[in-house]
Every structure is written in structure tokens, then in C-alpha cells.
Symmetry: C2
DNA sequence: GATCTCATATTGTGATCAATAAATGATCTT
DNA sequence: AAGATCATTTATTGATCACAATATGAGATC
């Protein structure tokens, strides 16, 4: 069969729009997921199929599928009109979210600690060093990124393909709010719990590692709630409708 | 087979293609979710967009979106070719699944117990009565259905819109396997833990209620694993490719 | 000046189409 | 006769089209 795909190369004045089939939505999904965790999208922002498709250089169809999946993962919510937007979290929901995080990520940490290898620990230490640098420079993007990397490489070591998707769903949910909060000057940035966790992993003390993660999560939650209480979660943000694809 | 979502009847000799816009996929999604929990789909079964669309009397498009969401919720998995199928659970994954169930549903039960009203308790008691009847009659369908109803009305009382979706995701995952296992004669059917939970709720004893749920889940897990061990999870089933929409 | 109404534009939804890729079956060769 | 190759069929995927509902804005009315 194989009908000679041909005319991309030799075609001099190629008018062909270069069809390029094959699984675009995987790309888009990864991009959006990362974007949600790292602050490319803001709470309350509505996602437009056509705008996003234009941004990704594709048709609305793959984007529709991706948004659909993110809605299913509770990372996005749909309005009565069928549009999807980034949810705006109430302090209560944020609190619930972090309570569940403590359980799930605590469990993952415990499992991971029991399987921890020296290679894993040194990898985590390296990531934490990057995090410290990002904190030093007040670099929100790299701070979120390396913090996420630290947690997820740790949980990945638990090798539980049932815990992992649940944890990811939670991170997708609080991601945008987390980014918003880091914009506030009074928000404390620290990674002291990570040091404790590394120490616990070195000692092979699983329950101490778990305690460390739980403390880390609880501290973050308190910080988030305090800035939410002082300034209100709903900050006025100007860039509302526009996207930032350059990260 | 024809699902007949609404006014097919009134249309006399309707030649009109019956455009019927407006959110078909909600129907399909609810139907599929229930179907997964109640045994309409079997582990290993591959879902055909066209077949399903024909069954629902719609085009492949809304079905595609629904399947996409179910994949995102880990209720279905996609093959390398892009098809989606009902996952076949390994004993290890089943065990992991139920370990997480214990945590999440235990937490939900504890919260629910603290908010339990007499109305809720009597509702749960009524549902449990239906369950007992179903067990008596060895009616798999109503057994699964009322068991699911018992658990979910209990968890619903926790009023946590972060726990609920996670729990639903878990149920969607083990649903098909659960149905398979109930087909095995040696599988024990009982609802004794539910009685204990009702008693705990009546006493306002939250931790006892939690213990009851955890015990219920653990018992179910052991039963599932034992039949998996004796007969293997992968039973040969004939109806593989066909669907049963009539439940 | 505020509110209600209507027209416009933008959005999502569902259907159809073209094209790729996988699965299936048949034919040919060894 | 058994295995491999190739063609046919069927599957999903991405693009485009038509329609409906919603949101937005301007204009008129009270």
C-alpha cells in the first residue's frame, strides 16, 4: 500500500499545509498539565478551545479531548455553558485538598522510603539543591518546578500506579492557587522539611520520612490559608484571559 | 440495544434527522460509569467507538469524549493503537487499590459519622435491607448496585468534593473485576460489616464506623484475592466483545 | 442615569471527511 | 502443510462544517 508520502521534501513551492498526523494530544496534555502546576494558567481563567488550538498550532479537536480529560481529573471545571475554566478554590476546599494530600503523599512517602536506593536519595538531594537556588533567587517558576520534581520523584519511588494518578490529580487542583500565593511577598518560602526527609531516607526511617512530608504539606497549607485569609484567595489579576506559553 | 434518551416517541413518521443538540455526552458518561461499576463491561474488553456509538444511537464523537474522560479517571486504559479497553488488574494492583480505598473511604466515613443525621442512618439502613435481599436472591446486579449505593450515600455525607471523585475513580477501577469475582460460586457474600457501621453511626462513634468500613474493605479485598489466587483473575469469558445495555 | 432588550459575535457540540495505522485474512512460497 | 508476506478491512485520529446556546455590547426606554 504505502502511498509514497513524498511531497514534503522535494516539493519546491510546497503549498501543502504539512498535515503531520499522529497523536498531537499527548503533547498538548503534557504541556497543559505542566502549565497548571507551574502557573501558566490562573484561577478563574476560562479556556477557549479555539484560542488554545491556535496557540498549539492545531485544530480544536485535540484540545477538546485534553480539556475533557483535565475536567475528568478535576483539574478544570466546566461552566453551565460548557466552557471550561480553572477552578477558584475556597479556603475550605483548599484545606480538604491538603488533608487528603497528607494521607496520600504520606502513604507514598512511607512506601518510597522502604524502597529508597542511594541513587534515589542523591537524585533528591540534587533536586533540592536546585530548589534552594530557586528560593534564593525568588524564582517562582523554578521554585514550583523543582519542588514538584522533588515530591514526584520521591513518590515515583513508591512505584504505585494507583497512588500516583490520585496525587497528580490533587496537584493539578491546587497548582494554580499555589502559584497565585507565591506571588504574595509575605508568603514564606522554605525547604527545611525536605532536608529532614532526606535525612530520614538516609537512615532508612520510613515513618520519619512520612512525618516530614506531612509536616511539609501542613506547613504549606497553613501558609496558603494565611495569605488567603489576609488578602483573600481571589486576587485581582489583569492577565486573566491571556495565556503565557513561554516557560 | 437502542438507548432512547428521550422523545423518540412523539415523532410520528419523523423523516427529520433529529438533530437533538445539547449535551448528549452527559447521558453517555453516567451510563458508562454505572455500567463499569455494575458489570456491564468486563476486564480486557476493548471498547469500540463505533459499536458504542451505535448502541447509544449517536455518533462516535460524544463517545470519544466520554471514553477520554474515563481514561483520565483511570477507569479505562488505552492500547498502543489508541483503542481503549477495560484494564485487567493484577493481584498486586488490586491489593494497592484496596489499600488506598481503606485510607480514603476510612477518612470519608469518619467525616460522615461526625455529621450523621438520623435521616441518613435510616436511609442507609433501608439500602442495606435491599442489599440483604439481593444477597438472599444471589442477584449480582442488585447486590453490586445496593452495595455501591450504601457506600456512596455514606461517603456523600462527608460532603467532601475532593474525596468523592477520588473514591469514585477507585470504584471505577475495581468495578469490573469485582463483578467478575461475584460470578464465582465460592465468593462469599455478606453484609455483616454494614450492620456494625450502622450501629457505630447510631452511637455517634466515628472511629468505630471507620473501623467497620476498613474491615469491610479489607474483607472484600481478601475475598477477591483468594478467588484470584484459586482461579486466576483472567477468567475466560465468552461475551468479550459484546455489550449488555439492558440492566 | 439605570435597566431592559435586542443584535452580534464567540463558543462549544455534534457530524462528516480524509488519512494513517493496526489487525485480519488470504495467498504464495518453502 | 506451515509460515511469512501482502492486501484488505477496520480502527482511531485530526480537520473542517453547520448549528445552537451563551455571553457581550450597544441602543432605546423608563
Amino acid at each position: 500500500m504505502r502511498i509514497d508520502k513524498s511531497e514534503d521534501a522535494g516539493n519546491g513551492g510546497g503549498e501543502a499545509p504539512k498535515k503531520e498526523r499522529g497523536h498531537v494530544h499527548g503533547h498538548v496534555l503534557r504541556y497543559m498539565r505542566r502549565g497548571l502546576m507551574v502557573g501558566a494558567f490562573l484561577p478563574g481563567q476560562v479556556m477557549s478551545l479555539r484560542k488554545l488550538a491556535a496557540g498549539f498550532g492545531t485544530s480544536p479537536m485535540p484540545v477538546r479531548e485534553v480539556l475533557s480529560r483535565l475536567v475528568a481529573a478535576n483539574a478544570l471545571e466546566e461552566t453551565k455553558g460548557g466552557s471550561v475554566r480553572v477552578p477558584r478554590l475556597s479556603p475550605e476546599k483548599l484545606s480538604d485538598l491538603f488533608a487528603v494530600r497528607e494521607m496520600l503523599e504520606g502513604m507514598a512517602t512511607e512506601l518510597a522510603a522502604k524502597k529508597a536506593t542511594p541513587a534515589l536519595i542523591s537524585e533528591l538531594a540534587a533536586i533540592n539543591k536546585q530548589l534552594l537556588v530557586a528560593i534564593e533567587k525568588r524564582d517562582i517558576l523554578n521554585c514550583l518546578s523543582s519542588n514538584q520534581k522533588f515530591h514526584f520523584t520521591l513518590y515515583e519511588a513508591a512505584a504505585s500506579d494507583v497512588l500516583m494518578p490520585l496525587i497528580e490529580s490533587l496537584w493539578l487542583q491546587f497548582g494554580p492557587t499555589m502559584y497565585m500565593s507565591l506571588l504574595i511577598p509575605s508568603m514564606p518560602w522554605n525547604a527545611s522539611d525536605h532536608e529532614d526527609i532526606l535525612a530520614a531516607l538516609n537512615e532508612g526511617n520510613a515513618s520519619a520520612a512520612k512525618k516530614g512530608i506531612v509536616h511539609d504539606i501542613r506547613t504549606t497549607c497553613k501558609a496558603l490559608l494565611s495569605v488567603a485569609g489576609s488578602q483573600g484567595i481571589e486576587l485581582p489579576f489583569a492577565q486573566g484571559a491571556d495565556l503565557q506559553f513561554d516557560y
